[in-house]
Symmetry: C2
Subunit: 286 residues, 2 copies
């Protein structure tokens, strides 16, 4: 297994909760694996090999599709609490007692729910381009996000240039390099997320984002060391939501990158891997 | 010179602008030196040797007292623009063409003014526990800061336990270790900052913090790569000011640490040195 990379790791399957979860697993085995939780409309093929292979040098990487997404069976449930329960079932089906979680965008919501529901299963959390329950503009979605997801694109991958990168020339150049990288895998690529699955994800986002009293109190229950990461100008889930996460989680570090958007991890993949590795390998935290 | 450390580096003097600047210089010569700009009421002896010697392994470190502070001659001027001009005169008096600047608290205001007035002199900026002109509660000072600086302490160093660390047991333990470290130097210690100098610093802070229209536009003129660092709960210069700096500087990264206050660099010295070194050594930035 350790000889595999992002490009060559076969899609495998694990059964739990009546769902057949598709996953790929590669990298250096023996430590705590890092489990990747994907964004809205994303599959395993949307992860950047510069990120996943970057981590795989030092640790085991596990990509998976949650229930109802792409090559996994089942239906996308109506809430992130249920998606978290499915993620827990998947991790346990692999026989793992403890993992680190990386959650990107709505994958960060799944990661939070996973940590809340199975605190012993989660060692550390990396929350990228995400936010808290009732975060700013997370109920309705942002106007920028609506325009970006509502537009049509000559090439479907061009959507991600606008979702993940800023309009600056430097950021767009990094975006084009990213799009090239996610096209590199040629074997057994994941099917696209269905419109039904995307709609179900959107409904769950609206529920997560709904305004509540004392909405951020639940973050005090997530005691794991957490690293919150975002771009300076995320217009999909506003950057201020990352600041809110850091301020309300009991044990969180925040890193924001310059001239970057929702996909800051794809704009600065080497720096991101370095920062996250420093965080995951840190002996003492506070 | 490279054989010296924080504890053994002699206090030397450089003359410029009619001021005799006291400084200490040590570490690995040959690259771009890192010049440290100190906080309110601080002298060279208030820097943490875990930080300065941490950097000195890989780069040259220069500590100095600005005009009117401790072992330097002259008067503390009425504005940070003038303090920046003095810092520039000091750096040029050493014959240096380019430096990196680390500014802590009001040292961060001096560093910003230095970068604005002499952009070619400053390669990169590290801004710790600081804020922008007209930053939140920077005109009046925070109520917490007034209480902390207004109290009396059995041991004068106990002041710094409250300024730099949170009330948590873990943070206070780190604070006591820090206080031990800053007492280690036995040779030619700096005299305390005089009440007159502290009052002049305070007057300059009120002027810097005064509310202005479009107060943060000036940050767009600071094009250098910048790393903004703070604790999660800085009550001297509120943490949100670090977020504001990052959001308005054109090329800035932000790092916030958990359960930490104004002196986050002293609470996590190893991690801080590692993050800052990564930033300073980065080949490509954006």
């Amino acid at each position: 297994m350790t000889s595999h990379t992002h490009q060559t790791a076969p899609t495998r399957y694990a059964d739990a909760n009546g769902i057949r979860f598709a996953y790929r697993r590669f990298g250096k085995a023996g430590g705590v694996p890092l489990v990747f939780n994907m964004h809205f409309m994303g599959t395993m093929d949307h992860w950047d090999p510069a990120v996943t292979d970057g981590f795989a040098k030092d640790r085991e990487v596990i990509l998976f599709n949650n229930a109802g997404v792409s090559s996994s069976s089942g239906k996308v449930p109506g809430s992130f609490a249920e998606m978290g329960a499915n993620a827990i079932a998947f991790v346990r089906a692999l026989g793992l007692g403890q993992v680190d979680l990386l959650g990107f965008s709505i994958g960060g919501l799944v990661a939070q729910e996973t940590a809340l529901r199975a605190p012993d299963l989660v060692r550390r959390l990396v929350l990228v381009g995400t936010g808290p329950r009732s975060g700013e503009s997370m109920d309705t979605g942002t106007p920028e996000g609506k325009a970006i997801f509502g537009a049509t694109y000559a090439d479907p991958d061009d959507l991600w240039l606008r979702v993940h990168f800023t309009p600056s020339e430097a950021s767009q150049a990094k975006g084009r390099a990213f799009v090239e990288r996610i096209r590199l895998r040629s074997e057994s690529r994941d099917p696209a997320v269905t419109p039904e699955a995307a709609l179900a994800q959107r409904a769950a986002i609206a529920k997560w984002g709904a305004k509540r009293e004392n909405a951020w109190d639940y973050l005090k229950e997530i005691g794991q060391p957490a690293l919150v990461v975002n771009g300076s100008n995320d217009v999909i889930i506003y950057t201020v939501n990352s600041f809110i996460l850091q301020q309300h989680l009991p044990n969180a570090q925040l890193i924001l990158y310059p001239d970057s958007a929702h996909g800051s991890l794809y704009q600065y993949p080497e720096l991101f891997v370095r920062h996250v590795s420093t965080f995951l390998d840190q002996k003492q935290w506070a």
